[in-house]
Structure formats: structure tokens, C-alpha cells
Symmetry: D2
Subunit: 287 residues, 4 copies
Amino acid sequence: MKLKNFLVLLGIVLFSTSVQAGRVVRDSIDSRVLGEVRHFSIYLPDAFFVQQERHFPILYLLHGLSDDDRAWTQKGQMERVCDLQMASGEAVPMVVVTVEAGGPDIKKHWNGYFNMEGWQFETFFFEEFLPAVEKKYRCGGDKNQRAIAGLSMGGGGSVSYAQRHTDLFSSCYAMSAWLRQDDHLQSRGHLESDRFKILAEAVHNLDCVRFVAEADKERCAELRTVAWFIDCGDDDFLLQQSLELYGQMRLHGIGAQLRVRDGAHTWEYWHTALLQCLPFASRNFSH
Amino acid sequence: MKLKNFLVLLGIVLFSTSVQAGRVVRDSIDSRVLGEVRHFSIYLPDAFFVQQERHFPILYLLHGLSDDDRAWTQKGQMERVCDLQMASGEAVPMVVVTVEAGGPDIKKHWNGYFNMEGWQFETFFFEEFLPAVEKKYRCGGDKNQRAIAGLSMGGGGSVSYAQRHTDLFSSCYAMSAWLRQDDHLQSRGHLESDRFKILAEAVHNLDCVRFVAEADKERCAELRTVAWFIDCGDDDFLLQQSLELYGQMRLHGIGAQLRVRDGAHTWEYWHTALLQCLPFASRNFSH
Amino acid sequence: MKLKNFLVLLGIVLFSTSVQAGRVVRDSIDSRVLGEVRHFSIYLPDAFFVQQERHFPILYLLHGLSDDDRAWTQKGQMERVCDLQMASGEAVPMVVVTVEAGGPDIKKHWNGYFNMEGWQFETFFFEEFLPAVEKKYRCGGDKNQRAIAGLSMGGGGSVSYAQRHTDLFSSCYAMSAWLRQDDHLQSRGHLESDRFKILAEAVHNLDCVRFVAEADKERCAELRTVAWFIDCGDDDFLLQQSLELYGQMRLHGIGAQLRVRDGAHTWEYWHTALLQCLPFASRNFSH
Amino acid sequence: MKLKNFLVLLGIVLFSTSVQAGRVVRDSIDSRVLGEVRHFSIYLPDAFFVQQERHFPILYLLHGLSDDDRAWTQKGQMERVCDLQMASGEAVPMVVVTVEAGGPDIKKHWNGYFNMEGWQFETFFFEEFLPAVEKKYRCGGDKNQRAIAGLSMGGGGSVSYAQRHTDLFSSCYAMSAWLRQDDHLQSRGHLESDRFKILAEAVHNLDCVRFVAEADKERCAELRTVAWFIDCGDDDFLLQQSLELYGQMRLHGIGAQLRVRDGAHTWEYWHTALLQCLPFASRNFSH
């Protein structure tokens, strides 16, 4: 066969074989706990539409401060990474969901994953959101089919959720995570606001490093049932927090992966983090 | 020093040391050759603003069919990659520019980098655009300070420009390049249109593979003065064209890098290609 | 806690927690088919010694021309890659085995994975070696727990074995594979030898590209049950063969991964290929 | 042209174009300072033999405790990485040298890069070795053409040398570096020995973290003239030391790259570190 014809034939075949691609849908849930509607953006893999009976694992992918559920799609190009890695098999077909846990004006909008006075987000997440999304979108169901990850405020959210719900998540991937809050940061001028102060206090109270530092034998045993991955850029202002968490985990004999790559607190970092996160979550799902 | 204080101090220092970041500006040029105004998007590195006398190398980064100069910034996150790699030193500080060479409706809008009846883009590029941009933005000036790259239609554009102007570019990085056009693709239904037909004919006439296949000794010697990098995804419908170009270059003893990575004809591919492209261009600049 | 004490404590913990490490054992089998003893080098993961009842998946990792079973360990640093990736979870704990299928003097020593006049290696492999090693080392047992890979002559061996035994292997990773043999190579001077000529003829007869080119519907369906990965360096003299195999597989709608990375026909290439091979095999094992 | 012929032609061309390859030579120097002969292993790039007048940059690549100058070649496959990256242009052609600074029995053999009672290695290095090797092998000559790197004990050696000789090295790449020594490690049983004790005391006296912690303005300014890269595995028992050094450098506004990748104190880690080290050194050479 001549090269030219070979090319033509190849072109036809490939053109007619469209590459597998999932879809991101924006949906919402009317929360009784929060007393308002919250949005979520959900990636449904190609197989979700083809195999109508199939059940999928799910990754809860948390966004950061002053963002909302669209951030991972619009700024982090989450859909592209999912399509790429599920097509090549580096990630298993899974549902990926980001729920709206913040807003642009941190003085006025509620931001955060924890229960605070006037904002019971964690209750909403576990009692309303998680069951509803897993039922509607044929996914999750137990620890072996559930992973969590997040960036910055969502990185801290993912670690704290997984620390206190080791029975619910098989793995946790924390990116540039905001894991603790000392007095200094609370008093920085540009963060002065009621709703941000309340959030900062909640982060202070649920300090993820202290949670490990104070862990007794039983808690350590529980923490060992989750696969942990800590990823933070060398130019990130929160780097030290990730290093402290990792140090405490090693001291307590809790296995974890640590990566410090090139970068700062930016979407370029989180985009490339996702390329490691999806395979990591995939490896730790089981049947 | 206690860990907590160490953190606080570190936080202060890092917060006050903002990470280096360039800026993307949209500018335009009134072309006599084309008889209309064309836009261009230009990345100016942090150092451009700090060192007012300094001269920079330039990368011409071409966009693809039915896109315009904003594509690399808006869909390819060019600015993020530039900031990251210039901060870490993987890329040298350089100017990166994308010029508007297309429009969304390929039936109605002109697309393409070559001279065609009614659209003398190549003349515009070399006689008007290149000198104007290098003068206004303190960059380029000669082969050693100039590189070219592009995706798809722009991949073919970059290769053809560098093939026929070996005295102007030190390196060429072709992504998922559209390098040649046979009869088959011209007759595919959804590409039927006057302006696209004209483009396809121009691509056919400037076939980049044939250009090497027919090269005599002198042309081969010229082609060896440019550093070549060919990068195409394993699921890309244009893969075979990249393989053919590489094969011909090897046959003619013209050094080139070839990479086939995971992916299709997508922005996820080109985004990660840029991570290799900037260091490659940097290595091949000289003083 | 002071930094210094923190370090000391960390040091103690880490020193006493030795990193998981497997072991490479050299063993042998007395073959009735071949009428002689053949050696094999086998990597047994850390868990093999700790969990005495546990059953493991197995990767058959084939060596190249003029080498023997020790090559992957001594030149390819296979043990290091296995230890690294099984410790981090990128690869699942598995047994990796290389069987002696060659010798240094290609004129005098038998080399090759196929049945030839006077050297029934393929019969030996499937009837004697595979059952014996899987029984003795608690591994394999069926397709879902078995993968194959190899470099150069072993790359061709792995592809041909997997092509003709789709019921036995879940995945195949071919590195710099020698997949076919035309007349030209047979007549090259430095390869002139009886035993090499016999091998070249066997490779010619089992041409892996032709095997796909001539595949009917049924054969294609079988080939689709194996996960394929083709990996070859851009400076490798055998690159074209990998490209042809991939082209034919795409033409026949048989999914495959293709990678062309930087490098030639060298151990540096195969060492880094292994870093992709073990996770690929792991992803395609199932329970 | 038919595919088969294309392959054949390609094969001929590639076979006749042998890939560029350097050579590792073992040489020695009779030291008056040490009163004995010391060996060194030196990589000379392909271009060294072809261009007999050309001058090259040099990388001093230090080995670790209980090893000697052959370690980087025999265990770290230094030659393979050099060949690969110089062929593709990721590293510039350079000379790479490892000098014998240790021996297998740490109780009996001298190990270490510093001046100690009875072992004036640092004097030997700067007054005898460096000038001799740069003269004999047409390399180095000034800071812009000189880089230093090392692993473990050699990682500490490279950092301390570059800290105290900022006028001599343009860059420093520290792998899994032994940067400081507290009392605790000195008293660990298996390290008890006279010569090791002397080394440990020297490391304690030249503490690389303290060197930065105590830096005044002038010293900081000098340290900023070197490009620093700190690379250590997440499972390395010395990780905390690298983190401390980086933390101090950030506190003092001294730019540095930090990477924490997957791995422990192993040759697999250092081998892949070298893939980043050579391009880093290359980027920081200048003319």
C-alpha cells in the first residue's frame, strides 16, 4: 500500500472513530440544612451514557476560597484531563463532582467546608449532598468507590473530611492545602471580614496538623485505612503547612505520598496536579 | 525557633515576595498588504517592564483553523506556562506572540498563513507584522533571537515558514501539524467552502513533507541550521503526517526530535506541548 | 517542638521503618523440550515473603538479542523500578520474571522466543516454563493476572505471544520491538550466521505487522481483548516497525497506546520504559 | 514509495548514523596535599574528541559515603544520561567528573569533602584537583563554565563548596543531601568509628543550614549569585534537612528550586535526579 493511501485510510478511520469524551453538567440541590439552593458541576464519563446500568466510583473535587463549583471546569480544565486519562486508561471511568462552597466576595459570601455559626456546610455535605448525588448519578455507595481531593481551602477540606470520615473515603489528594490557621493570618488586613473570620476560626478549630499530632493509637489505625497524597508547589505560600502535615504523618507511622513540584498557588499547578490525582484515586478504588 | 513561628515568618516573607508574572496585551496592526486591521496577543515577561532597555528573544506561536490570536491565551493557558517556566528558569524570559490568522466560520473567514488569491498573509507576516512587532516590543532582530511554533494549521504554518526562511528562525516546534493536503480531504463534505478550498490548495502547494522529500544538498544544508521538534498525539487524526515529515527528515540526514505522547487533537495536548516548547526554544536561542 | 528535635525524631522513625524492598532470585528449570537447563531471574515483591498465602499477578519481561535473563536486573535496574513503584502504589505488588532466551554469540548461541528447527522455545515457554513458574511462585493462573512485555527481540516476542495467545495475557507492552524481518536485514553482513539466520526467518514468518494486516473479524475481536502499549525511541533504528504496527492496529479498530520518546536502542530507554510499563500492567490486571 | 522500501531505506540511514556517545575515562592524580594518589572518573562528550580545540563547561558530580569515583557510572548510569541528553540538546556538551572522596569501610577509609585532621580533602580539591582537571581536559576556567552537584554526603559537599565559593560555581544541585549533623546521629552505634566521627564533626562544623541562618546581607548577596536546586525523596531519611535549608533560603530571599519526588535514599532516585540536574546546570552556564 502506498504511503499516501495509507494516510487517507487512516484519516477516514480516525475521523469516524470519535475520541471518547465525557460531559460536564451543572445541576443544583435545594438544601434544607442551608436553607438555599446550592449548585454543583458534575463530570459524567462517556461510559455513563453508554452503559445505562453501570455504577461508577466518584471523586469529590473541592474548589478553593472565593470560587464556586465551576472553577475546576473553567479554570482548571478538569474536563480535558478526565477525557484524556479515561481514554488512555490512566484513570478509570469515574464521576467527578465539585459542589459550590464559596463565593467571590469573602467578606459577604459564605466560603468553607465546615460547620460554622450560620453555615452548616459539613452537615449539608454529608447528609444531603453526598447521598443525593450518588443516588442520582449511579456512583459511590461505599468507601471503596469514593475518593476526595481539593485545592487550597478545598485541600484542607478534603483532608479534614477524610481524617474525620475514614470510613467514607478510600483516598485523599490534597493540593496546596490550607490545613491550619494561626493568629497571624487572622489579623492580616485584607482578610478582615466577618464571614472570613468565622471561616478562619473554623479552620483553626479543625487544624489538620494538630489532628495527627494528637492522634492516639486508634485514630492512627483509622487514618492508615485511607491513601494520602500531599502535593504543594515550592513557591506556594502554604508549603510549610503541607510539610508539617507530612512530617506528623510520618512520625505517627501513617503512610503518605509527598510531592513538591515547581510552582506557586496557581491554576497551572492544580491543573497538572489533577493529572496525578485521577490515577491515584483510580488505584485506590476497589471492587 | 518553634515550628509555628517559623511558619508565620515564612508566610510573611513569601506573601510579600510576589511571584514574577508577565502580562498578555492585545494589540493590532493596520495592514496595507491585507487592507485591514489584524490583532495580535503578545506575552511580555516580567523583566520586560523592569528592565526598560533590555532586548528579548521572541517566539511566534501560531494558532489553528477557525481560531484567532486569543486562542493560545484563552484555551491554551499560554500565560500560565510562560509565568511558570520563566520563574523557574526552564524558559528564558522571552516575548511570545500570536497573530490573528483566522476566524470561526471557515467558509466565510480567511484562515491560513500562506499567500492565496485575495489573502496575502505570508507577505503581511514577513514584511509588515514581524518587523513591526520586533521594533515595538524590543525583541527578535535575528535568527538567534527568534523561534516559531504552532498547532494544527499553525503547526504546518510554522514548519513551512521555517523551511522557506531558514535564515530567520533558530528553531521550530510543530504540534499536531497539518503539513500536507491530498485530494481526499479536500472533497470531504463538511470542509466544502470557497475560502477553505483556497486554503487547502495552498497547503497542498506548500506540502511540507514533499519539501523535504525533494530537497537537494543545498536545501538540506539550510534545513540543518534550524532545530526541529515534531510533537503529535497518538490519537490525533493528523499523526501520520508528522511521522512522514520525520521519516523524510531522517532520510535526508536532517536532525529532528519526534515525540508521540498520549492524546488527540485537543487543547490539553497543546497546553502540555507548550511546556516542552518553551524550553526547546530557549535552548536554541543564542547571543 | 524545636526543629532540631523534630528532625531527630523523624530520623529515628524513618531509620527504623525500612523501605519495602523485593528480591531478585535466579532459578532454573530443566527443560525436556529443549533438552537443557534454562535459567530465569525472578523478582519477588516484599509482600511475597510477608503474606505466605497470597497469590500475585505476574509480568513476563522478555530480554533482547545476545542477552540473557540477568539483563533486566543488571543493565535495566529492574529491581529498583519495581521497589520504587510498588512502594508508592504506582504498581501493584507483582512477580516479574525474565527467562533466558539467548546468549552473547548470536552465531553460536540460540536466541529467540519462537519455535525453530532445533530450538522449540515457544513450546518450552508455554508448556513447561509458564506453568512451572506460576505454580512455584504463587502467581498468574489466568489472563487477568498475567501481563507480558519485552525489549527489541523480546518486544517482538511479547507482541507475537500476546497476538497468538490473547486468552493468556491481559496486556502487552512492547519496547523498541523487533516486529518483522525483511530480506534486507537478513543479508546484512554482521548478522550472517546460521543460528541468527534461523531466528530471522522465524521472525519473518511470524511478522507481527502482517498478523494484524491480515486479521479477519474474529481475530480482530480477540486482539481487542488485550491492552496494547507500543513504545519506541525517536532515534531507534526499529522505530518504523512500531509505527507500522500501530498504524495497522488503528486501521483495524484495535485500541493501542503509542509513545515515541527521546532516545535510541539503549538501556536508558528501556529503564524509563519500565516506569510506564509496570503501572500499565497493573491497571490491566483484574480480580 | 512502498512502506517496506521506506523502512529499508530508513534502516540503512539510521544504522550508518551512529548516535553520538561520549566516553568515561578513569584517571588519577598524585596529590601532594593528601600524600597519595586519588582516582577520578571523567565523562568526555562526543564533541570533545571531534573538536580538538573546543573548550567545555564542567560539572563536578560528587559521590556519597562509602563509595568512590566509579559510583556515578556503575550505579548511577551517569554515562547513559549524559549521552541521551546531550544528543537531544536537553543538556549542553559538558565534561562531568567524579573524584574519589571515600571508601567502602567508613571506619577505616577516609570519606568526606572537607578539611579534617589528617585529611585535607578540600585543600586538595580546590588547589590541586580542580586546576589540574580543567587544564588537562579543556574545561571550566571560571564560574560561568562550572557547576557542582552531588548526592547524600556529596550533596552536602556540593552545597557547602558552593556556599563558601560562590565565585567558583554558577549552579549547585543537591540530591538527598547530608547538610548538617547533630549529636544524635553521631552517637548511633553503627556509625561509631574514628574516621567517621571525624567526618561527622566536620559536617557539624560546616552546617549548611546554619550557614544560611546566620548569613548577613553581604553573604546573602553572594549566595544569590548561584542558582540552587534542592531535590530529595519523600521517603528519604534526610528529607527534613533539605526542607530546612530551603526554608532558610526563602527566609533570606535567596532564590532556590525545591523538588520532593517519589523515592528514598536510593540510586533510582539519583539516576532520575541526574535527568533534571544536567539541564539545570546547562541553563546556568553562560559564555
